[in-house]
């Protein structure tokens, strides 16, 4: 049943049906999350209003890391089962992951200026997030530079698997170097945040998650069409009025 959708031809219409659903979910959750975060959640007694950027910053930082892990999973699938669709999903996810990481860095800088008095510090977590962004760039550059599609897929998959070693380092770097960045606030079971703030952050996380899925599905549809353009089913699809 699952393997049926590992074929690009049968996944293409499924992605077309699912993408709008996730887009709507993302839209609704963003509206709820931002309302909760910007209007309902109380002002922080230490940081004032500026802390509210975490409702974007933290979910995007999480998604930046999470998408890389998802790419690593698809990389495993692509290398082990040699499935074309896994490599296409990897290719479709990379730009979204890079954007999420870039948003995390940017919002972090905007938040750092009023709170720490500096846009950028060579703190371990910030630095490793920056290098996560470089990992995304590296993957996309390699994917672009190899002409042969099958080789590009496999080389990219191997690179992502090698790079995924870096993601735990990002997470544990907080404890290893423990410098300017505040320690992790959200730890399962012992949260230091007010409930409304936590709720808003979680809603925003799911919103970004749904957004990432929707965008990746739309992008993978484009990739499928491009790569399968010489097959009969794509010709048939394109000829249809």
């Amino acid at each position: 049943m699952l393997f049926k959708y590992a074929s690009p031809a049968s996944f293409y219409p499924l992605a077309g049906k699912l993408a709008p659903v996730f887009a709507v979910i993302a839209l609704v959750l963003t509206a709820v999350g931002l309302y909760q975060g910007f209007i309902i959640a109380p002002t922080d007694f230490q940081q004032g209003e500026v802390y509210r950027i975490i409702f974007i910053h933290v979910p995007s930082a999480w998604m930046g890391m999470f998408i890389y892990l998802v790419m690593a999973m698809y990389a495993c699938l692509a290398l082990v089962f040699n499935t074309r669709l896994s490599a296409m999903m990897m290719q479709a996810l990379a730009p979204t992951g890079a954007i999420m990481t870039a948003i995390a860095l940017w919002t972090g800088a905007l938040w750092g200026k009023p709170t720490w008095g500096t846009y950028w510090a060579w703190d371990a977590r910030m630095t490793s997030t920056l290098f996560l962004l470089f990992l995304y760039f590296g993957y996309m550059a390699l994917d672009n530079a190899i002409e042969d599609r099958r080789r590009a897929d496999k080389a990219g998959a191997l690179l992502v698997l090698v790079g995924v070693v870096n993601v735990p380092i990002i997470y544990f770097s907080v404890r290893w170097w423990n410098t300017l960045h505040q320690g992790a606030t959200v730890v399962p079971g012992s949260s230091k945040m007010a409930d409304t703030m936590l709720a808003a952050m979680m809603v925003m996380t799911f919103a970004m998650w749904a957004y990432a899925i929707a965008v990746a599905l739309w992008r993978v549809r484009g990739i499928i069409l491009e790569r399968e353009k010489n097959t009969a089913w794509v010709q048939e699809l394109l000829d249809r009025p």
Partner: protein, 234 residues
């Protein structure tokens, strides 16, 4: 060669390793000038730093370890295309992959040869830069030790990227893009060992982490490089 003397090639890890190591070292020796280039580059780039940031010996002594590590990484980058590019271009790599020896043993031999001709000389010339940056002898000792323990990781990660980018457009710049983010922990721990030694803190932890990275890499990298070569020859 008669059939008796032929080892069971599938398990002939050591002969494959030694054969490639000897061949690559011999090739390196025949083109000594080329091998010297990363070392010369290493010293030259490091010599630019005092010109840029001023000749205050105290400041230089503080940034020395970081400069040496960063320049070491750059010099290693320059040497990376050399590992496979030539062999890929003239078809030797394909023959190696077709040979009866395990490809991971061949990759291991190439890795060892690369470290012996790049990482080792760089580590041993680091004191020259250390002198320029006013580092005292014990600090230099830690610097060389950190380079000796950490530079194999540079060769290993670099070889993976070099194999992955074979035949890609703009290989040398692409290698840098792929490899630099992955080099970060090595630089942090390598320079960190020297820094904590200077600050009087125990530097063993940094060296131990580098050593752990090198050992873990030695176990896994030959297989990853072999997989990357297979992808390149696909």
């Amino acid at each position: 060669m008669n059939a008796m003397a032929e080892p069971e090639a599938e398990f002939a890890v050591l002969p494959g390793f030694v054969a490639v190591l000897r061949r690559d070292l011999l090739l390196a020796w025949r083109t000594r000038a080329e091998i010297a280039q990363p070392v010369i580059f290493f010293i030259m780039v490091a010599s630019l730093f005092p010109l840029g940031i001023g000749a205050d010996m105290k400041l230089l002594a503080r940034v020395g370890a970081g400069v040496v590590w960063a320049c070491g990484v750059l010099a290693t980058l320059l040497s990376l295309p050399r590992i496979f590019a030539q062999d890929h271009a003239d078809g030797t790599l394909e023959q190696m992959a077709l040979s009866a020896y395990p490809l991971s043993a061949i990759a291991g031999g190439k890795l060892a040869a690369h470290w012996l001709t790049t990482g080792l000389p760089l580590s041993l010339t680091a004191p020259v830069i250390g002198l320029q940056f006013g580092m005292d002898a014990p600090t230099q000792g830690v610097l060389v030790l950190s380079l000796l323990i950490g530079s194999p990781i540079l060769s290993m990660i670099g070889a993976i990227a070099a194999a992955l980018t074979l035949g890609a457009r703009g290989q040398s710049l692409l290698i840098a893009l792929l490899v630099l983010p992955l080099y970060v922990p090595v630089v942090i721990f390598g320079a960190g060992a020297v820094e904590s030694f200077g600050a009087g803190i125990d530097h063993g932890a940094h060296l131990a982490l580098l050593g752990a990275g090198t050992l873990a890499g030695l176990v896994a990298t030959p297989f990853v490089v072999a997989a990357a070569i297979r992808i390149a020859l696909d």
